[in-house]
């Protein structure tokens, strides 16, 4: 029961904050205290703590603890930004509910329950996607997101339920079909190319804080859930035996990595640059998983967690830059600290050393070369395209020069970006605390791959 305390605290806080959501002076600090309480509960739990709730087995693994703390840290920064700089009363209960489901996903051990909680978490942000509906297409974007999540979620849960009820003498083709449906379901949820159309519309129409909630918290959680479900569902040995599923994962990953980077390199605005960069990094991470190797899994998970944090920093900075420069194009002269935050979080997004994004990307590209030279080359090309995209953004922001380096009033997004950069820098210099829990999970994954 104690394992479930942190998500339960957040769930109760989400219900309370929904009741007082229009009193910003109360709901903002309340949400921050709830997140800090949940973080304290996660820290205080002993390692590998376990328990059960409503017939469901729970366990807080080392990876679960790491991802929970990163998720809560990101949520804390998002809530702080919205409370101080961009008041939106729907955001607070949404963020707390997303936190509750994300932490739930990280402690539950039943694949079906993990998928169910993930679907709940992905549906909740629809409430904060739609805003000023008469002036934009945010309802269309939210509707498309709803359709993708409903489709992907139901297909995924259905395929897992069928896989769990298959008799042992079932033909291999049935397993292959179910594994393919599961991979496609996750591709829908992760907005992997070619299932990225809802992400593109979201990028241009919804508030940046809600976008950061989705791409900074939910998308990394979805990826971790995917790897956990593969490990716990017992499908991995069948996937190893039938190479087709591995090829599909590899293909979707490669298309997303290169396609996302290509779109990012020509992105017309800052938001889309960030969203396509996330899609590209997720694609590269899928390739890492498709190698079914220790370094590939460690690199994929490390890269995805860092991508979530840096995407949150970049999206918050992009939102501030847009608001300060509206109706003109964003420039650094209006919000220099936010522009700086955008650039430094961009370093993390491309995996530049010595930041924490580097080890993950290095592992993935190294193992991709060993897997197939073409794959390795494609991932390096994707990285180069991402660098081009980020450099274009730097030129667009700083090209006109900054006449006076006067820090903007209420530089919340800028300070948050600097905080994220500092954390990633410290993590990059001392990576053990970050990589060891991921390596422990990779060992579990490999054991599930080849059971004795």
């Amino acid at each position: 029961m104690t394992v479930a305390l942190a998500p339960l605290v957040l769930a109760v806080a989400a219900c309370i904050s929904f009741g007082v959501r229009k009193r910003l002076a109360i709901v903002g600090p309340f949400a921050l205290v709830a997140i800090l309480t949940a973080a304290a509960l996660v820290v205080l739990l002993p390692s590998d703590a376990s328990g059960s709730l409503l017939d469901l087995e729970l366990r807080l693994s080392a990876l679960g603890r790491l991802a929970s703390l990163v998720t809560l840290g990101t949520l804390f920064l998002l809530v702080l930004d919205v409370w101080i700089d961009e008041p939106a009363y729907n955001f607070f209960p949404t963020a707390l509910a997303v936190g509750a489901t994300a932490l739930g996903v990280l402690v539950v051990t039943a694949p079906l329950a993990i998928f169910g909680l993930l679907m709940l978490g992905l549906l909740v942000p629809v409430g904060s996607f739609a805003f000023q509906v008469h002036r934009n297409r945010s309802v269309d974007a939210a509707t498309r997101h709803f359709a993708f999540v409903s489709l992907g979620g139901s297909l995924g849960i259905g395929s897992l339920a069928l896989a769990a009820s298959l008799p042992h003498d079932q033909p291999a083709n049935t397993f292959v079909l179910l594994a393919v449906v599961l991979v496609v379901a996750f591709a829908l949820l992760l907005a992997a190319i070619p299932f990225h159309t809802h992400a593109a519309l979201l990028a241009s129409e919804v508030p940046t804080a809600a976008l950061a909630l989705y791409f900074g918290v939910l998308v990394p959680t979805t990826f971790i859930a995917f790897v956990e479900i593969l490990t716990l569902s017992g499908l991995l040995p069948a996937i190893v035996q039938v190479v087709k599923v591995q090829d599909l994962l590899h293909g979707i990953g490669l298309v997303s990595a290169v396609g996302g980077a290509f779109l990012a390199s020509g992105a017309p605005d800052l938001r889309r640059l960030v969203v396509y960069s996330v899609i590209s990094n997720l694609g590269a991470a899928l390739v890492g998983i498709a190698t079914l190797s220790g370094p590939g899994i460690i690199g994929a998970l490390a890269s995805v967690i860092v991508t979530g944090a840096s995407a949150s920093g970049q999206l918050l900075a992009a939102g501030t830059l847009e608001r300060r420069a509206a109706p003109e194009r964003p420039t650094a002269s209006r919000a220099p600290l936010a522009a700086l935050a955008f650039v430094v979080c961009g370093f993390a997004m491309i995996g530049a050393p010595p930041l924490l994004g580097f080890p993950g990307r290095f592992f993935m590209e190294l193992i991709a070369y060993q897997f197939a030279p073409f794959t390795g080359t494609a991932l390096v090309a994707a990285t180069l395209l991402l660098i081009v995209g980020q450099l274009r953004a730097v030129i667009a922001l700083f090209g006109a020069g900054v006449a006076r380096w006067t820090i903007e009033s209420r530089p919340v997004a800028g300070l948050i970006g600097v905080a994220i950069f500092s954390a990633l820098l410290v993590g990059g210099i001392l990576p053990n605390g970050f990589l060891v829990p991921i390596a422990a999970f990779a060992e579990e994954f490999l054991r599930a791959l080849r059971p004795l």
Partner: protein, 195 residues
């Protein structure tokens, strides 16, 4: 077998309706018939939880419609959805059937211990949901498709030999959240359309 026929007919009614309120009532019918199909495999508590989830979900859609006339005309989408769902159900049953008995005995009335009826109903609901969702133009039919899929998934999970209470509660919550999200989108879409 009769419950399966009722599920098919009520799904068609929900799919073919031009008014959201009628679709919501038909969805409740689908859910009740689905509970009848698997009544023997669930405890009273689980049936109550699932029934409450379905009732709340349909109630949310009913209220979101705001008046009797609001909805989406399916037009040709009704026939496409029906044909695709029928073909997909047959294909799924041929390739993914996990019912253990080789000789399928489906009683006209009463329990179906082999689970074949429940599995066919689940495939039909999921296929119909996908076809409706993919061809939907607005959140009205989008919500309908999503709720049909969730009901189908509930049926599949009931066939599993695992502890059910947590999963039952979770799926009931998913049903309610899908309906709430769909209702929220329907209200917003209507506000945009009427402005």
């Amino acid at each position: 077998m009769i419950a399966l026929g009722i599920i098919a007919l009520v799904t068609l009614a929900a799919n073919g309706s031009r008014q959201l309120r009628y679709s919501a009532v038909a969805l409740l019918g689908v859910s009740l018939a689905a509970n009848v199909v698997t009544a023997g495999q669930l405890s009273v508590t689980q049936l109550a939880v699932e029934g409450c989830g379905a009732l709340v979900a349909c109630g949310v859609l009913y209220v979101a419609a705001r008046d009797r006339t609001y909805g989406e005309d399916p037009g040709w989408r009704l026939w496409i959805a029906t044909i695709v769902a029928a073909a997909a159900t047959a294909a799924c049953f041929a390739t993914l059937r996990t019912a253990s008995s080789d000789t399928v005995n489906v009683p006209l009335l009463g329990e179906d211990p082999s689970g074949v009826t429940a599995q066919v109903a689940a495939f039909w609901l999921i296929s119909s949901g996908i076809a409706i969702l993919v061809t939907a133009r607005s959140p009205v039919r989008g919500s309908l498709g999503a709720l049909l899929m969730v009901t189908g998934v509930q049926l599949l999970i009931r066939l599993l030999n695992v502890p059910q209470l947590g999963l039952t509660l979770l799926l009931a919550w998913i049903e309610v959240v899908v309906a709430l999200t769909g209702g929220f989108l329907i209200v917003n879409e209507r506000a945009v359309r009427e402005s």
